[in-house]
Amino acid sequence: MRVYKLIAAIFFLIYLGLLFYLYRGLNRSEAYPNKPITIVVHSKPGSSIDLMSRKVAEVARKYCKEPLIVENHPGTQGIVAMQYVMDKKPDGYTMLGVTKSFLSTLVVNKSHVAISDFLFLANMIADPEAIITNNKSGLNTIRDVVSQANELNGKQVWIGPGTGSRDYLMALKCWDVMGIKAQWVDYKSGPQSVLAMLRNEAPVYVGNPSDILGKDDLKIVAIAARSRLESLPDVPTFKESGYDLDESMWRGFALKKGTLPQAVEYLSEVLKKVSTDPQWIEYCQGAYSFPDYLESKTFSKKIDDEMSETIDALQKAGLLNNYVKKGSILLAAMALLFGLIIFFVLWLLIGFNRSRFTYSLLLSGLFIWVSVFFYYQTLLFAIPAGLNITSPALIPRLWSILLFITSIWNLINVLKEKNQPVKRGRIKLVAEILLALLIYFIAIPEMGYFVSTPFFLLAGFYILKYRKWPVMFTYSIGFVLFSYVVFQLLLKIDLPLGALFV
C-alpha cells in the first residue's frame, strides 16, 4: 500500500502539471498567428480534398509563421465539418476545406449551417468533370456516345456515385447540352462505379480524370474544362466537340464569418503565395487538375452564382422535395419518446415483481412497437416520380414486417412459458453506475475530459465497492495520464478539453 501511496502522489503531481500546461498552453495571446492553424477536412485521410489540404499545409510552411495542421471530421457529406468550424471561435485558427459538393449538401440537408455563415478565402484547384468509357465499348469520342444514345433511344446507362451528387447534376447537364436522353444508375460510390466500368457493365461513367489513374482499360472521352490538361494532352475538352460545358469540382478554403480581419488578410496572403509555388503547380498537374487560384471576392461571387444554379438543377431534377410529409417528424419523435417513457415506467413498476415473465412480455411488446413505429414512418415518405430508383420504403418495410411476425411468434412463446422467477439481480448497482455515467457524459463538454475522467473513475470504483484509496487514485489518474500519452501525444487525437481550457 505504501508503494501505491507514493505512485499516487507522483501521478497526482504530474497530473497537476498536465492541467497547468493545458490551461496555459491555450491562452497565449500575442500577434496573429501564435499557434498552429487547423485545416478542417470533411472526409477521411487519403481523399482528394484531404491530400490537397495536406499539400497546401506542406507548401505553406515556407510562407506561414505557424504550421498548418489537417484534421479530419467526416460525416453527413460535410455537415459535421461545417458545424465543427461554426462551433469554434472566429479567431482565424480554424480553416475549413471547401468543395463544390458542399453546395448540394447545404441545399439538400436541412441543417443549421448556411452558405452565408462562411467567408470564402480562396479557391486553390479545379478538378474537371470527365466522361469516362471503357476501351472495349467502342465509345472513343463524344460523337460515339451521342450516336449510341440516339440509337438506344433513352436506354443508354450513365453511372456514378449518388443521385443528386455533383456527378449526377453533371450527367443531367451533359444530356441537356448534347441533346440526348439516357438513364442514370446510382452505383453509390466512386470505386464501385469504377469497378463496374472495368467490367464494362455500363457505357458511360461521370467522374474525374484521376479516376483512370493506372487503369489501362478506361478512357476519358472528354473533360468539361476550358482547356486541355497539361498532364493529359491527348484528352479533348467538350468545347472542342462543340459542346459548351465547363464543370469542375473546385476545392478551396473558408473561414467562419466574422473572423478577425488581420487573420483573414494573413491567411489570404499565405494561400496566394502557395498558389504560385512551383511545388503546388506540380502537385495540381500530378492530380490531373488545374491550379485555379481565385481570391476571396471572385470566389464568393462564383459560389453565389453556382448556388442558385445548383438549386435550379436540383429543382428541375425533382430532387428538392420534402421527402417526408410535413409535421410528421415531430409527431414521430414524440411517439418514440412516448413509447420509451411508457416502456421504462412499466419496467420500473413491474420490475419490483422481478419475474422473468413480465420482463419478457415487456420486451416483446417493445419490439412489436418498434416494428409498427418503423412501418408507420415509411408510410410518410413522399417519393418523387419519374426517377430511376426503387422506393426507400421497400427494405425498412420488409424488415419491420418480419420483425412484427417474429415478435408475435416470440410473444406466443413467452405466454406459453411458465412464470419463472429470476434470481434477484443488483439493479441498484447498475442504476448507480448509470447515474455516474450520465453525470460524466454531461460533465465532459463542460469540465473537459482530463478533469471529469478521474472523478468518474473514482466514483465507479467506489460504487463497485472498491475502497483502497491509494490504489483508486493511482488507477484513475494513471489512466488519464495514459490516455494523454497514447491518444494526444502518440496518435494525435484531440480529447475534448472542455469550456475551462478553451
Binding site: 485521410p45 449518388g162 467490367r199 493506372g214 421527402y323 419478457s360 424488415w399 475530459y449 490516455s483 480529447l495
Partner: protein, 497 residues
C-alpha cells in the same frame, strides 16, 4: 522464373534499415490500435498516413500495411479479454474467446488467436503473391447480385448462433437491420427515420454501437449478476493453471486455420465485402464442419481460430484489387491508395510493371510483419493476462471510460458517446431477456450491403440474374443450406443432455 526474380528484387529493396524499422513500428502501432476499442484498422492506417508523407514510398507502404495487418490481430485481444471487439473484424472472436476467458483460459484463447492470425496473414500473403492476377478477375466478376447474395450468406450465421431459442436471434438481427436503415437513403438524397435529429442524418455510427452493445452491455449485465462482487481469487487460480496452451492443441487446428485463411483471403479479394463478413462465414463454416459443434459459443478453440485466421487472411486479399485493379478492397486499403498517390504512384496493373521492386518488397514485408507480430504477440500475451487478472471492480470503470473515448474520437462527437451509451442499455436489456447481441451487430454490418445491392439490382431490372449468374446462384444456395442446416440437424438429432 520471373516471380523469383521479382521476389529477389523486392527482397533487396526491402533490406534497408528504414523499411525494416517501419515494419516493427507499424506492428507495434497496429496492435495498439487494434487493442483500443474504437480504433479500427482503417482509422489506424488513416492516423498514420500523415506521418508517412515525408518517407520514401517503400517505407510508407510497409508501415501502413503493417499497421493494417496487426490491427486486425490486435482487435482480438480485447475481444478475448473483456468481450469488447477492438475492431469490427473481432466480433466473431468474442463468441468463444470471451467464454474461454470466463473459464479461466484466456491464455488458450490468446495463443490460438495469435497463431491463427499469423497463419492467416502468411496464407494471405502467399495467395497474394502467387494468384493476384487470376484473383483480380474474381474481384471484377462480383456485381450487385453477388454482393447481395454474400450479404445474405453472412446473415445466415444467425441460425447457428441462435442457440436454444432461434426466434430471439432473428428478432435481434432484425433490430440491427432496421436500425441500419436510419440515415441517408442509398438512392435518394434524403435521410430516413432521423426523427429530426441532425446527427442521425448519416445514420448510426457503427463503432460506438459496437462498443456499447458488447462492452457496456456486458459490464451492466455482469454488475447486475453479482459477478464482480465475488472474490476474483478462484479466477486467478484458474488463469495460473491454464498459463500455457499445449502445442498439440494448436497443431490439431492446422487444417481449420488453413481453410479459414483461404476463406478470409478470397472474401477479402472482393472489394467492399471486407474481412468482417469473412470472419462470420469462417466461423459458420468451422462450426458446421466441426466434430464438436456443440462446443461452439461455449469456449471452443476452433471458434477462435477460424474467425481470426479469416480476418488476417483478408488483409492479403484486400491488397489484390488495390494492386491489380487500383480499387480499394477495404476501408484500410482506401487509405493506402491515398498513400500511393502522395508518392505519385498509380495503383493498378501498371504498378507491377513500373515498380516491381516496390510491389514485391511490399509482399515480402507482409512475411516479416507477420513474424514480428507473432514475436510481439507472444510478449504481449503475458501483459494481457495480467490485465485480465486485475480486479473487475477496477477494470470495469476503466473499460467504460475507454469505451467513451473510443466512441468519441471517430467523429470528435459527443453524440456518438450517447450512441454508445444507448447501445449499452440495449445490449443489457437484450442480454437479461436472453436475446443474443451478436445478431444485432451482424444486421448493422450487413444491412447496408444487402439493401444497396438489392435495390441496385432492382434498378438494373433483370432479377433472373440472381439465379442465372453462377456466383450469385452458388452463394445463395450456400446461404440456404447454412440457414436451414442447423435447424434441420436440431430436428433430427435432439441434443443429448
Amino acid at each position: 522464373m520471373e516471380i523469383i526474380n521479382n521476389l529477389g528484387l523486392g527482397f533487396s529493396s526491402l533490406m534497408h534499415l528504414t523499411p525494416l524499422l517501419m515494419i516493427v513500428i507499424g506492428v507495434v502501432v497496429g496492435i495498439m490500435v487494434g487493442v483500443l476499442p474504437g480504433l479500427s484498422p482503417s482509422i489506424g492506417v488513416a492516423l498514420m498516413l500523415p506521418a508517412t508523407f515525408g518517407m520514401d514510398a517503400m517505407s510508407a507502404l510497409v508501415l501502413l500495411t503493417a499497421v493494417y495487418l496487426s490491427a486486425n490481430y490486435g482487435g482480438s485481444i480485447t475481444a478475448i479479454a473483456i468481450n469488447t471487439p477492438g475492431t469490427p473484424g473481432a466480433v466473431a472472436t468474442t463468441f468463444d474467446g470471451f467464454e474461454l476467458t470466463k473459464q479461466g483460459k484466456p491464455m488458450h484463447a490468446l495463443m490460438t488467436s495469435l497463431t491463427a492470425s499469423t497463419v492467416g496473414g502468411l496464407v494471405g500473403a502467399i495467395i497474394l503473391i502467387l494468384f493476384s492476377i487470376p484473383l483480380a478477375s474474381l474481384a471484377l466478376s462480383f456485381e450487385s447480385y453477388e454482393y447481395f447474395a454474400l450479404g445474405v450468406f453472412g446473415m445466415t450465421i444467425i441460425s447457428s448462433l441462435a442457440g436454444d431459442n432461434p426466434v430471439k436471434g432473428y428478432i435481434a438481427s432484425l433490430i440491427g437491420l432496421l436500425l441500419v436503415t436510419i440515415g441517408f437513403d442509398t438512392q435518394l438524397p434524403f435521410s430516413r427515420f432521423t426523427m429530426g435529429i441532425p446527427q442521425l442524418a448519416d445514420g448510426i455510427e457503427f463503432i460506438p454501437a459496437l462498443i456499447g452493445l458488447f462492452a457496456l452491455g456486458e459490464i451492466f449485465f455482469s454488475i447486475e449478476n453479482f459477478k464482480i462482487l465475488k472474490k476474483d481469487v478462484s479466477a486467478k487460480k484458474a488463469i495460473r493453471k491454464n498459463k500455457t496452451l499445449p502445442l498439440n492443441k494448436l497443431w490439431k487446428l492446422r487444417w481449420l486455420m488453413l481453410r479459414s485463411s483461404v476463406i478470409g483471403t478470397l472474401i477479402g479479394v472482393i472489394p467492399g465485402a471486407g474481412g468482417t463478413i469473412a470472419t462470420f462465414i469462417a466461423y459458420n463454416n468451422a462450426k458446421s464442419t466441426s466434430k464438436s459443434p456443440e462446443e461452439f459459443g461455449k469456449g471452443s478453440l476452433e471458434g477462435v481460430a477460424a474467425p481470426e485466421a479469416a480476418n488476417n487472411g483478408s488483409v492479403g486479399g484486400a491488397l489484390v484489387p488495390l494492386l491489380t485493379l487500383g480499387i480499394p478492397g477495404s476501408a484500410s486499403t482506401a487509405v493506402l491508395i491515398g498513400a500511393l498517390m502522395v508518392h505519385k504512384l498509380n495503383p493498378g496493373p501498371q504498378l507491377f510493371e513500373k515498380e516491381p521492386g516496390l510491389v514485391y518488397g511490399l509482399f515480402i514485408s507482409l512475411f516479416f510483419a507477420n513474424l514480428v507480430m507473432l514475436a510481439l504477440g507472444l510478449l504481449g500475451n503475458k501483459l494481457w493476462v495480467r490485465i485480465i487478472e486485475a480486479p473487475k471492480k477496477l477494470l470495469y470503470p476503466i473499460i467504460i471510460a475507454l469505451s467513451f473515448i473510443g466512441s468519441y474520437f471517430i467523429q470528435n462527437s459527443l453524440f456518438d458517446v450517447g450512441i454508445c451509451l444507448a447501445f449499452g442499455l440495449l445490449g443489457w436489456m437484450l442480454k437479461r431477456g436472453g436475446y443474443p447481441t451478436a445478431p444485432v451487430i451482424l444486421g448493422l454490418i450487413l444491412g447496408k450491403m444487402i439493401e444497396e445491392n438489392l435495390r441496385l439490382s432492382l434498378v438494373k431490372g433483370d432479377l433472373s440474374e440472381f439465379v442465372t449468374r453462377p456466383w450469385s446462384l452458388i452463394i445463395l444456395l450456400l446461404a440456404l443450406v447454412s440457414f436451414f442446416l442447423p435447424i434441420i440437424k436440431k430436428r433430427f438429432n435432439p441434443v443429448k443432455k
